[in-house]
């Protein structure tokens, strides 16, 4: 039983092996030539995705050879050609076409082949400037992907047709909506390649609503600023010169994240300034570099919107000291009768137990406005006067007046201290010490 089973098993294996072998041989005989035929007997064409009016070259081949006179081409658009294994064809419209070819091989085999062809229209006209062509300014037209170097231009404004190159400029003399047409092959083309241009006055109230100029900056006019962590008054500004009239719709961006929207109507081609807002100001909680920009949704902007940056330092008290950003000029002291008291080398000669008047001029030599400054006068450590100076403009000279009562004791000092209290924490702008020398001391 065991031997019989072994024999049967060997027979079965032998049968299977033989069947497989036969299958392979049959396949080699039948499929491989068929496959070869499929590979070698085919229609090829170039370019692979032809343009309208572009010449397409077709080629048919067969491994057994083709009798040229037997070849008949049908291009799928109703046109035909015959008598050659190669054919050229320029389609006049876009579309998907089935190209068929029939021929007889040298072995007298009748063959029908076909292939799909997709014809597209890539030709177009672009303009520069792309968005806002203007009257009396050259508008550059570019015939892109045209097939010939010579183009017949019709600018749509009634001026004569121009046979010119692919890139050409034209000046419109009046505003309007113009249809520009370019004909390929020096005007021989039947395809209509067109675009429309809205030509307005380039600048002024009748121009298309557009941003002509934009500058991003911080309050000091610069595109970069370093601020301490937690600084709560950082505001970005956009100086905008616009043309025409319209509604500006924009988004302030911080590190690419939308921060706040800006919506306002802008009439009669003027200038305006928008800002990123003060409540809250730009974020300064996390140290590091930040980028601020503006995404203008309307109107479309044909130039790249600039990006400005600010750096948030780790220290919250970075601006604690901005000493000597203001100066005190012409500092003088008087008694109440108006007699000027002598000040020399920081020493004030003053009568004891009398009032002393101080007069001086605070000059802001900072580049920026100080919205609120606090002037403090101390006698030793005692605060004797404080005054708020509002809107101390860059370069402004603001007179001040104060008084102390001179106790007449030795070693008295007068301090003049000025803070910028518009910022948190306040910034020391100026400090000066004068020794008070009283009569008899």
């Amino acid at each position: 039983m065991k031997t019989e089973k072994t024999i049967r098993s060997a027979d079965i294996k032998s049968i299977i092996f033989n069947l497989l072998l036969k299958l392979i041989v049959v396949s080699a005989i039948l499929i491989v030539p068929l496959a070869l035929t499929q590979i070698q007997a085919a229609i090829s064409f170039s370019p692979p995705q032809p343009n309208v009016e572009q010449t397409v070259t077709f080629l048919v081949s067969h491994p057994a050879g083709i009798i040229p006179a037997s070849v008949v081409w049908n291009f799928g658009d109703g046109s035909q050609a015959s008598g050659s294994t190669t054919a050229t064809k320029a389609y006049r419209t876009i579309g998907n076409f089935i190209v068929r070819v029939t021929y007889t091989t040298l072995t007298q085999q009748q063959v029908n082949e076909q292939t799909p062809v997709t014809v597209v229209e890539r030709r177009r006209i672009t303009t520069n400037p792309p968005l806002y062509p203007a009257v009396n300014k050259p508008v550059e037209f570019r015939a892109e992907n045209f097939l010939a170097k010579s183009v017949l231009w019709n600018f749509g404004d009634g001026t004569r047709l121009v046979l010119g190159p692919e890139i050409i400029s034209h000046v419109y003399s009046s505003p309007g909506k113009y249809t520009v047409e370019a004909k390929d092959f020096g005007g021989e083309s039947v395809a209509k390649i067109q675009t429309t241009v809205n030509v307005t006055e380039g600048t002024g109230p009748r121009a298309s609503f557009q941003v002509f100029f934009l500058q991003l900056r911080f309050d000091d006019g610069k595109p970069y600023k370093v601020v301490p962590r937690g600084y709560d008054r950082l505001v970005a500004y956009a100086d905008i010169k616009y043309e025409g009239s319209g509604i500006l719709n924009a988004l302030w961006l911080v590190n690419g994240i939308a921060f706040r929207v800006a919506n306002l109507s802008l009439p009669f081609a003027r200038q305006t300034i928008i800002n990123s807002g003060s409540i809250p100001a730009l974020p300064t909680a996390i140290p590091g570099m930040y980028e601020v920009s503006l995404k203008i949704i309307q109107p479309q902007v044909e130039f790249e919107i600039p990006v400005i940056r600010y750096f948030v330092a780790a220290d919250k008290s970075l601006d604690r000291f901005q000493l000597n950003q203001v100066t005190v000029d012409g500092f003088k002291s008087f008694d109440l009768e108006g007699k000027e008291l002598e000040i020399s080398q920081g020493l004030i000669q003053a009568p004891a137990r009398k009032h002393i008047l101080f007069r001086g001029k605070i000059k802001n030599i900072k580049q920026t406005l100080v919205p609120f400054a606090l002037l403090r006068i101390y006698l030793n450590s005692n605060l004797v006067d404080q005054q708020v100076l509002k809107d101390l403009k860059p370069g402004e000279v603001r007179p001040f007046e104060s008084s102390i009562f001179n106790p007449g004791s030795a070693d008295s000092s007068v301090y003049i201290v000025l803070y910028d209290i518009s910022v948190k924490p306040e910034t020391l702008l100026f400090i000066e010490k004068y020794e008070l020398k009283s009569d008899g001391n």
Partner: protein, 679 residues
């Protein structure tokens, strides 16, 4: 003088205060009569007083903060000196000011109440004749008059616990600081499968700011900043001289080199914060100014040294004040070249081309009747070439401006006429509106909590009236109402209407018409310095008949808050909504946006949780919604307690962003370490 002599002589009363003040005065008089407690002031030793003369004065007990209060008093016999003493609440010492004698024999002192740090102050007068003094109130300084102010606008919060001057002088900083931030990426996963372009980002600043002040008055200040960033904004370089300034000041002379602001007037040079140098002499009567700066803010180190010829502007001004500073004459000259392509932070139309030109300007200004009436006239003539690339050379043209204003109490009236020729221009102005003329008038009225302002303007182009050229006229009216309900709450409402019409040879055209309307409202809540809310709503509509004809409307809402409810938490959120609708196509662009940044102190001065993020949804039609969400933040550990030479912190940060549009979504995640230093 006995207390019975507190009877006031009302014949000197200031008519402007009105009859209501009579009642006040009576009440105050009675109060003062019965008041006997001392004010607790630290007062100088006063000379012996003989009460034989009467000071006549109408007490001022209320005022509007910011107004100029005139204190007027007279005495019934001759004296040598009249002094005004006042003391702000919280101060120990009185301030003293000599009063000026007026033509009618009375004495006057004008106090600018905007300089007051608080709203209440006490005052009294002292008339001296030799060693004898007479007071008002008679028992001053034991008894004084108290004036209480009403806030008219936001007053600054006066910092408490400021260091003593001795402490401030001890804390003079070393004039050099270095700060920076280094962020290595520890983990990154991007939705598109890419791994990012850089594994470490860094930014740093080196600031050098030495200054010197001599006893002779020479002040030398400098402040320069060199910045470094590993991520570039084209076409910048990694290292940039972002700030540069050296200034010498002595007396009336000032020489500055570096980044300076040049500001002369609207026709010559204005708001030009640029790199260069300028010298100023200003003795408050005569002013002389020369400058040479770059026309654009140069990129990187390009602005180090003299401005390059292609972007160099030079000029100067000479001014003189006359008649007790009531009249100013000024002459200005500006010339040079500009190329907007050289600037940083600037974007412009292709029509904004390199330009050159020069301009002479003249200005006359007068401040009459104690600044109640101001007049200003400006004239400028330029020779300007707005486009160096074309064949057209420089052309001359003129500009002029007349402005007058009247201010009395809460009433402000301004009026203006201007003309700017078509070919006028100045390289000292980044952009300028030319070929215009027009009239403008503004009227503002402030009464109590109300602030009402109306404005009307008529502008037109084709300023020279060329008959072959269309002329567009713009009629613009606006009304703004502000309500300062309290120091903490203010409201504002605005309405603006603008109509543009275009004419050719006197006939109105269909082309070049437009109409805009804008309605706005806002609410400001300043609940405290640590809790502020701002709400602003604007709706606009616009129609126009230029090419292409347009019609659109928009609504914008911004809500912002700044909260510091406690020292350990700060939260700054924004919420924005805007909708823009094209009335022709019906297309709507809707944007919804929120943003926040916050700091939560976990362990005071050591550990803080810092967060920043936002959500944005924009939609411009069915199926076009785009949602973006981002969150950035982490724990920050401050090492300042252990490293005493500066501020150092380590942070572990996470960044997550998710965007979804048209059915596809992308998420990016990063984990970063961050090292911040500042010393």
């Amino acid at each position: 003088m006995g207390k019975a002599e507190w009877l006031f002589r009302f014949r000197q009363m200031d008519c402007q205060k009105g009859k209501r003040r009579l009642l006040f005065i009576g009440v105050i008089s009675v109060c003062l009569f019965f008041q006997s407690a001392k004010m607790g002031a630290t007062l100088p030793e006063q000379p012996e007083t003989e009460d034989t003369r009467i000071i006549i004065h109408t007490p001022v007990t209320t005022f509007l903060h910011g107004e100029k209060l005139q204190f007027k008093a007279s005495v019934d016999s001759s004296i040598s000196q009249f002094n005004f003493f006042f003391r702000q609440a919280g101060m120990e010492q009185y301030q003293v000011r000599p009063m000026e004698k007026a033509e009618d024999g009375s004495y006057i002192y004008e106090l600018d109440t905007s300089t007051l740090a608080v709203l209440d102050f006490d005052y009294y007068f002292e008339a001296r004749n030799g060693d004898q003094s007479y007071f008002f109130p008679a028992s001053a300084p034991d008894q004084t008059v108290t004036a209480t102010g009403q806030p008219s606008e936001q007053m600054p919060e006066i910092p408490q616990n400021l260091p003593s001057p001795e402490e401030e002088m001890r804390k003079m900083p070393f004039p050099l600081s270095l700060n920076g931030s280094i962020e290595p990426v520890l983990y990154e996963k991007q939705g598109d499968g890419s791994s990012g372009t850089r594994k470490i980002t860094a930014g740093s600043n080196l600031r050098i700011f030495p200054s010197y002040r001599s006893r002779t008055g020479l002040v030398v200040t400098s402040d320069s900043n060199i910045s470094y960033s590993s991520t570039l904004l084209s076409p910048e370089k990694k290292v940039d001289l972002s700030n540069l300034m050296i200034a010498f000041n002595q007396g009336h002379h000032s020489l500055k080199m570096g980044d300076i602001n040049i500001d002369e007037n609207q026709f010559t040079v204005s708001g030009l914060g640029r790199r260069g140098f300028d010298y100023t002499y200003d003795n408050q009567k005569t002013g002389f100014h020369i400058f040479n700066v770059s026309s654009q803010q140069p990129k990187g180190f390009k602005g180090f040294g003299p401005p390059r010829a292609a972007i160099s502007i030079y000029g100067g001004s000479l001014s003189q004040k006359f008649f007790n500073d009531q009249f100013l004459l000024k002459a200005i000259f500006v010339a040079g070249k500009d190329d907007p392509g050289e600037g940083s932070g600037v974007g412009s139309s292709s029509f904004y081309t390199p330009r050159k030109g020069n301009v002479f300007g003249f200005e006359a200004e007068s401040h009459l009747l104690k600044d109640k009436v101001n007049l200003r006239a400006e004239y400028a003539r330029s020779n300007y070439d707005e486009d160096l690339s074309d064949d057209v050379d420089s052309r001359p043209d003129n500009a002029l401006n007349f402005f007058t204003s009247f201010r009395e109490g809460g009433l402000n009236i301004d009026a203006r006429y201007y003309y700017t020729g078509k070919n006028f221009g100045s390289v000292g102005l980044q952009s300028m509106i030319t070929d215009r003329k027009g009239y403008q008038a503004n009227v503002g009225l402030t009464r109590g909590i109300f602030n009402l302002m109306g404005a009307y303007a008529i502008d037109q182009d084709n300023a020279d009236g060329d008959l072959a050229t269309p002329t567009s006229k713009d009629y613009n009216g606006s009304l703004t109402l502000g309500l300062n309900l309290s120091r903490k709450v203010s409201l504002n409402f605005g309405y603006r209407n603008d109509r543009q019409k275009t004419f050719l040879a006197g006939e109105e055209m269909d082309f070049g018409r437009s109409r805009q309307e804008e309605l706005s409202g806002g609410l400001n809540l300043s609940l405290s310095q640590s809790a502020m809310v701002n709400i602003a709503l604007t709706t606009s509509s616009q129609t126009g008949t230029t090419f292409p004809a347009s019609g659109s409307s928009s609504t914008g809402l911004n809500i912002g808050g700044a909260f510091r409810p406690a020292g350990w938490l700060s939260l700054n959120p924004t919420f924005s909504y805007s909708q823009l609708k094209d009335e022709f196509s019906g297309l709507k662009i809707t944007t919804l946006n929120t943003f926040f940044s916050s700091e939560l102190t976990v362990v005071p001065e050591i550990v803080a949780l810092l967060l920043m993020g936002g959500f944005n949804r924009s939609e411009s039609g069915p199926g076009s919604a785009m949602n973006m969400f981002s969150l950035n933040g982490g724990l920050s550990f401050s090492l300042g307690r252990w490293i005493k030479i500066g501020q150092f912190s380590l942070a572990l940060n996470g960044e997550y962003s998710h965007s979804k549009s048209s059915g596809s979504s992308v998420s990016n995640q990063r984990v970063l370490a961050r090292f911040d230093f500042d010393f």
